[in-house]
Symmetry: C2
Subunit: 432 residues, 2 copies
């Protein structure tokens, strides 16, 4: 019997008879020729059936097989530069594992809601396969980056005890006899405990926002990676962020060129993502907005539209640092040179993809942090463990969070984050 | 000024004057000598202060610094085989970043509840640091294993729409206008959709059980990795599982020898985890129990005590396959040679650590699966998308789930899973 192989291994079997099992992705016919495009998850293979070379039964079968039928094909591997992947199969046989008819997703156009309802099938389309492979490569780049630099993974809990910043954007659940628990919005506070134990750590897991935002940038469930580093200030933090972004983008360019081509991504927009990235202060960002004639009020946070204008001035991600402390979180350290500013940094992706990183140097003084918690009207008791990090061996430290799905959307060049994750959760969708 | 370095890099600076910042882990004195043990997350460093070599102020300071104070030390690196790590510092200076007194966790014994209440600080202890580093190495081994073998990562959703197997062990939350959503117990059904799209996939994320189990093996929130492979039967699945376990254990042995030593782990128990792993049928497992004189009733599921007896007969993880279908999930394929059995496999860790893997070949027939759903009284509608995987291009496929925390407990040789994850969640604990 011929050897069973994966499509990605075809190159090692040129001239040999092999078998491949997979699904019928597409087909066409031309006179005495039938072309079946097989997919097996590792690639695509054009199988050519010539009437003179196969039995009448096999030839007839090639006409009858429906899209997405699972089949096994047999034939000889040929180099063929014009074929997808560079090889094709001089096919002699086909056997059906499971005959499929009326597959709902045809090569014609479908509405987005229909495709999202059939997400479990839509994932089989070549664009979705390409996105998932790029997502995977980005996840691997993220983990490799930190693993290679002495960071320890520190998984943060999903179920958290207190609604630290108000319950309005939190999912809550009953937790046995302990009252309510809340799905985490960020692992940062836990990562800070980790950094003081292990020096350099990162958390990487799902996080949740019960926000009623119905935009192309919002998911209710999304993955976030959050590095946190002891003995690190805002500048170190920005150095880390830019090295990190360069590493992610260059890893994808190197290993997922084919998938980027499927997505018709303009890779020149990615090739320029190399260090150094531009760094501008919030003040400079506001100047840009004012020069554009926008009625932006100094002191406000930057909105999505503002971010788009600012990022359009740069061909790389741009770091905006030192925001007014009032629009930023209580745990951010104030700038010693201007206490109205927080030592925060947001990184805005180019091409209007918005904020992909938010970070800061953290306040390390116990007394200052206690004041801030009071100012923000937060429940002091819930933060006692966090305050312990300033009671015992406090050190300067900083970190940031990168949203995975926005990063995938940017690198893939997608209109909407719903395609960046296998099964998207949005305010109006939690199926399939 | 002397160069700032990490403890792990000391070997490159022998004979040079350097600075290290970190926390005072421990100290002792002997006549004119003071020994400060510094930790920085990358290792431990003994700093030796000789009264004749330092200023009176520095010498006095070494006596006053409290445990877990954050400090910077300066001195010359010396090779010293008797020191932790093989190096020590001929120290000349120490500066305090944050002076700490009355650190709650002292070298004396503390109760577990006290330590868990102070988990954010307990993580700084050398045993906990060792566990976290081994956990990290296991996570990396898991991902590398699948990444190197052509699997695509397919993150499954945490928020799922239906209480498919009853609500009693599910955490639930309100989901906007869509009613209730439930925290996932397993990503498997989604992984199956992934396998039919991408051939070989894995999910790896947190999963949840609202079970009222108060044992040393149960967490309410734990991480699970679930590979799923198209065109794979039960035997392929067992081949994959044993290669996977060997890879994980051997990776830890190779790269985390020092941490295993800190934990006083008997590594001979790990060294023997190499292929092939023993495979016994459920019937053979029952025979073992009966030979031991246990009153086990054929047809029941194996309990924790039964698993301990069975695994004690082997020095490696043992695979128990072909369980009575009645004690196993509805989606498992029946054995064609005996339809009373499911093509399931559980892998039991040695030394009484219990089940670490559960898997099966999946039922691929639409009609059979529909019958099973009816037999189990499950809501057919919630499974329509899952049934689509059998309507369109169904193929034989199989997979398994490995619980991360039980695997960490086994490899580290820990009594209780609460130490295997940074912030454990149990029925009576969701803090800090």
């Amino acid at each position: 019997m011929s050897k069973k192989i994966s499509i990605k291994d075809l190159k090692d079997y040129v001239g040999q008879e092999i078998q491949v099992s997979g699904w019928l992705y597409n087909k066409r016919s031309s006179g005495k020729l039938r072309f079946l495009i097989l997919r097996d998850g590792s690639g695509y293979l054009q199988c050519v059936y010539f009437k003179g070379n196969v039995t009448p039964e096999v030839f007839e079968l090639t006409d009858k097989i429906g899209q997405e039928s699972s089949i096994t094909v047999t034939g000889k591997v040929k180099e063929e530069p014009r074929s997808p992947g560079g090889y094709e199969l001089d096919a002699t046989e086909v056997t059906i594992i499971h005959e499929t008819h009326d597959y709902p997703i045809t090569p014609k156009e479908h509405g987005v809601e229909f495709l999202m309802d059939n997400r479990h099938l839509w994932l089989r389309s070549s664009r979705q396969v390409a996105i998932m492979k790029i997502r995977h490569r980005i996840v691997k780049a993220i983990r490799d980056f930190f693993d290679d630099r002495g960071f320890t993974l520190m998984d943060a809990p999903i179920l958290t005890p207190a609604a630290c910043e108000g319950t309005s954007t939190l999912f809550e659940t009953e937790y046995f006899d302990l009252g309510k628990a809340y799905l985490t919005q960020s692992g940062q506070l836990y990562a800070e405990a980790g950094a003081l134990a292990l020096g350099k750590v990162y958390t990487f897991g799902p996080t949740f926002r019960a926000e009623k935002s119905k935009t192309r940038r919002h998911l209710t469930e999304f993955w976030m990676v959050e590095p946190e580093v002891a003995f690190s200030d805002l500048n170190d933090n920005m150095d880390l962020a830019e090295e990190f972004l360069e590493y992610i983008v260059q890893s994808v360019l190197k290993d997922r060129a084919e998938e980027l081509k499927v997505l018709e991504r303009d890779i020149t927009k990615l090739q320029c993502v190399v260090r150094p990235l531009p760094r501008i202060s919030y003040d400079e960002a506001v100047e840009i907005l004012h020069k554009e004639g926008l009625p932006f009020e100094y002191g406000n946070d930057l909105g999505a539209a503002d971010e788009t204008v600012i990022s359009s001035k740069f061909d790389k991600p741009v770091m905006v640092h030192r925001y007014p402390s009032e629009v930023k979180a209580f745990y951010m350290k104030r700038d010693p040179e201007n206490p109205k500013l927080a030592l925060a940094v947001d990184v805005l992706a180019p091409e209007g993809y918005g904020e992909i990183i938010g970070g800061s140097q953290r306040e390390e003084s116990l007394e200052t942090l206690q004041e801030r918690i009071k100012e923000h009207d937060l429940p002091m008791e819930a933060f006692e463990w966090y305050l312990d990090l300033r009671r015992f061996g406090s050190v300067p430290h900083s970190g940031f969070g990168l949203g995975l799905e926005r990063t995938v959307a940017w690198i893939c060049g997608l209109e909407h984050v719903r395609e960046t994750i296998p099964f998207a959760r949005m305010i109006y969708r939690n199926t399939p």
